[in-house]
């Protein structure tokens, strides 16, 4: 049967089993919106700014593992969406963004609301398409979903000119599409796997370092089995939190710029490093030359060959899907006659426990002013460690990562790569819609939250009961911290004057606002916010926190992992 391009778009989304489309209408996509109006296969969520549509779709993907979908109009709809697309790209999140475009005859003529969408988004997508013929539309949509969700995942943009949405074509949704140029490697090379296993068994001071790839590749179960079988210490990066249970003794906490003392020291001083779905990011290993000073052999498992030997030379590269590779590695380990060197491992753990005994995350919780770390710790207790936590970007993000102990993957939703302020609230919306029964908290700051504060309105419209935990220190905290350390305490433009009354602001959108000034009230406020009585309500908690609190430990930019500044040293 023939269908219009608009109908085809909508039917493709339904065929893909899409639950939610996050979007904002406009001229170029009106035909598509008319078809959305007529269908009931998926729900459209009207955001208040296109950036938030993409963030919400991105969070839906992070939390569920399925492809998130956003729909925006041409021109400013696209440019507003770009920050969201780049955010998803940096963290390898599978989303499909359908963008309206001016009619094909008007392309290139500086038409109203025209931008070169394919050109603007090219550097921040895994792939993009401009569909010039309605006959190509269904196949292109299929390709978009395949490319977004396979290999190293990422955002795909499908740009659809308005006339194409009106043209007719025979509709048939292909079950699959062959792409001769696109074949991600899935299985690890067996020779390399054998070398890796041998290296692991010979290790005296081993370390496992895992990133977002374990979470995206749904390989937590295999990782846990491998880590326990070997008895090695492990660290999960900011993107990898929850990949291995944070409360387990073998987990040394997060590595990197604000990582734990023990994780960074073990990264620096290990003799065999098993890197899994992680990319030796500058925020994780600091200065690569300093990192390379210590002799160590590195095994690197990643689905993207270009991530391997990019910043750090590795000895055993293994390209493949993390879940497959770990399963193969486990099988080899179980067959192996040798066992890990127990005596060496014991000595290594003794050293690690010594590092751990520094208790690098301790802070003064006797303060009469609310300490931000305390709020996160209490949040963990009140939610019994079982919430989905989204965050914005800055100090609160680091405290959330350090003090909320994630025991499961896909529970920690943050912008690790691009570091996009303003993601927290739309992220929480995407997660809460995906899991209506779950506890969802957005840990944010008073600066970040204002970058997408308009989404309080979306939360009102769809009764999205997320809990906002705002750590309000009246500063752009991370900027303030760097200015204190590196710019002689000259706080250039990092002070937030003229803040709104957040309680009244939340109330004006029909939500519940709370202001908490004293440490003694923190727990009760959280208890109330997460009580059954307020389960259906959005609660906005404004915690007035210590203005001068800093995030520790800290590895200064350009420094090495073993050159951390600890809280007690200041």
């Amino acid at each position: 049967m023939e269908a219009t391009g608009a109908e085809i778009v909508v039917r493709c989304l339904a065929e893909e089993g899409v639950e939610f489309v996050f979007g904002y209408p406009g001229g170029a996509v009106l035909n598509i919106y008319d078809e959305i109006f007529k269908q009931n296969k998926f729900k459209h969520v009207l955001v208040r700014h296109e950036q938030a549509a993409v963030h919400a779709a991105d969070a839906y993907a992070r939390a569920t593992g399925r492809v998130g979908v956003a729909l925006v109009t041409s021109g400013p709809g696209v440019t507003n969406a770009v920050t969201g697309i780049a955010t998803a790209y940096m963290d390898s999140i599978p989303i499909v963004v359908v963008t309206g475009q001016v009619p094909t005859a008007a392309i290139g003529l500086d038409a109203f609301q025209e931008v070169d969408t394919v050109g603007i988004t090219r550097p921040c997508v895994k792939h993009n398409f401009l569909v010039k013929d309605v006959k190509d539309l269904a196949v292109t949509m299929k390709k978009a979903f395949i490319i977004a969700s396979t290999g190293r995942p990422g955002p795909v943009v499908v740009d659809v000119p308005k006339d194409v949405t009106a043209h007719l074509a025979e509709f048939e949704y292909p079950a699959s599409v062959e792409m001769r140029s696109y074949n991600p490697v899935i299985k690890g090379h067996s020779g390399q796997l054998k070398r890796a296993v041998q290296m692991l068994l010979e290790a005296k001071r081993p370390m496992i370092y895992t990133g977002g790839g374990v979470v995206l590749g749904d390989a937590s179960a295999q990782l846990a089995e491998l880590t326990r079988l070997l008895g090695f210490p492990i660290t999960n990066t900011l993107m990898g939190l929850g990949g291995y249970p944070a409360t387990d003794r073998q987990n040394l906490g997060m590595p990197g710029m604000h990582g734990t003392y023990e994780a960074n020291m073990a990264m620096q001083h290990c003799d065999v490093l098993l890197a899994i779905g992680a990319r030796f990011d500058d925020r994780v290993i600091g200065n690569p030359a300093h990192f390379a000073r210590e002799q160590r052999r590195i095994i690197h498992i990643d689905i993207d060959p270009s991530s391997i030997s990019k910043r750090v030379r590795v000895d055993v590269p293994i390209v493949g899907d993390v879940q497959n590779v770990l399963a193969d590695m486990l099988a080899l380990l179980k067959q192996a006659k040798e066992k890990p060197d127990a005596a060496a491992l014991n000595a290594w753990w003794t050293q690690i426990e010594l590092w751990r005994s520094k208790n690098c995350l301790k802070y003064n919780n006797q303060s009469p002013i609310i300490k931000p770390q305390y709020v996160v710790e209490k949040l963990w207790e009140v939610t019994r460690g079982d919430a989905y936590i989204t965050s914005d970007v800055g100090q609160h993000q680091m405290w959330a990562a350090q003090y909320y102990k994630f025991d499961q993957p896909r529970r920690w939703i943050n912008s690790g790569g691009l570091g996009t302020m303003g993601v927290g609230l739309p992220y929480a919306m995407g997660v809460q819609l995906a899991f209506p029964e779950a506890q969802v908290a957005c840990i944010t700051g008073e600066s970040s939250i204002q970058m997408n504060i308009q989404e309080l309105s979306t939360c009102k419209q769809y009764r999205i009961p997320v809990k906002v935990v705002m750590l309000n220190n009246r500063y752009m905290g991370m900027v303030r911290q760097w200015q204190e350390f590196f710019y002689g305490s000259r706080y250039a433009e990092s002070y937030m004057e003229s803040l709104p009354d957040f309680v009244k602001l939340a109330e004006s959108y029909g939500h519940i606002g709370m202001r908490i000034d004293k440490p003694a009230d923190v727990e009760a406020a959280l208890q109330e916010a997460f009580s059954p009585a307020l389960k259906e309500r959005m609660v906005f908690m404004d915690f007035q926190t210590d203005q001068t609190e800093n995030v520790f430990p800290m590895v200064e930019g350009g420094k090495g992992l073993s050159e951390m500044i600890l809280a007690e040293e200041l």
Binding site: R122, P123, L130, S181
Partner: protein, 163 residues
């Protein structure tokens, strides 16, 4: 080190800009780039001449392979290969210089493909350094304009790049 990277990609709108964009976004250097469809019109073959350390060349190859439209990538300089470039040079050809110009073109196995009373247009193929040598052999004052295609390359013997 100079490298010649050969690649096969889908002959689609925007494919060239994906490659060019990759080079500029990651601050890789392009010395020359040539592209045209192959005997199979759905495929384009591109030859990129670039320079960089081994690490940079490894990243370039990997990043090119990662592009969804790219089918195959080969670093021609890793093995035996042939490299050719085409140059058209328009020169002044008057008086005694006219005969001299013809002789020099012959020495370099160039062909004169357009003639006026005052000019020759010479077609020359070879490696980049041969073309450079020709330009050095003639008086620069005689050169009106030059146009070069950039290098195209192919593996020697059985070595080939097929979809």
């Amino acid at each position: 080190m100079r490298h010649i990277i050969s690649l096969l990609m889908e002959n689609e709108a925007g494919a060239l800009s994906r490659v060019a964009g990759l080079f500029s976004a990651r601050a890789y250097n392009i010395e020359s780039l040539t592209v045209a469809p192959t005997e199979d019109a759905t495929l384009s073959r591109m030859t990129i001449v670039t320079a960089g350390s081994e690490e940079v060349i490894e990243q370039i190859t990997k990043q090119l392979n990662k592009l969804v439209d790219v089918i195959k990538v080969m670093d021609l300089t890793e093995g035996r290969h042939i490299e050719r470039e085409l140059m058209l040079v328009k020169v002044k050809a008057t008086g005694a210089g006219r005969e001299e110009m013809k002789r020099t073109a012959d020495i370099f196995r160039g062909r004169i493909i357009d003639v006026t009373d005052a000019t020759y247009t010479i077609e020359l193929t070879g490696t980049g350094s041969k073309l450079d040598a020709f330009l050095e052999a003639i008086d620069p004052a005689f050169i009106i304009e030059t146009v070069r295609t950039g290098a195209s390359g192919i593996g020697r013997g059985e070595r080939s790049l097929k979809a």
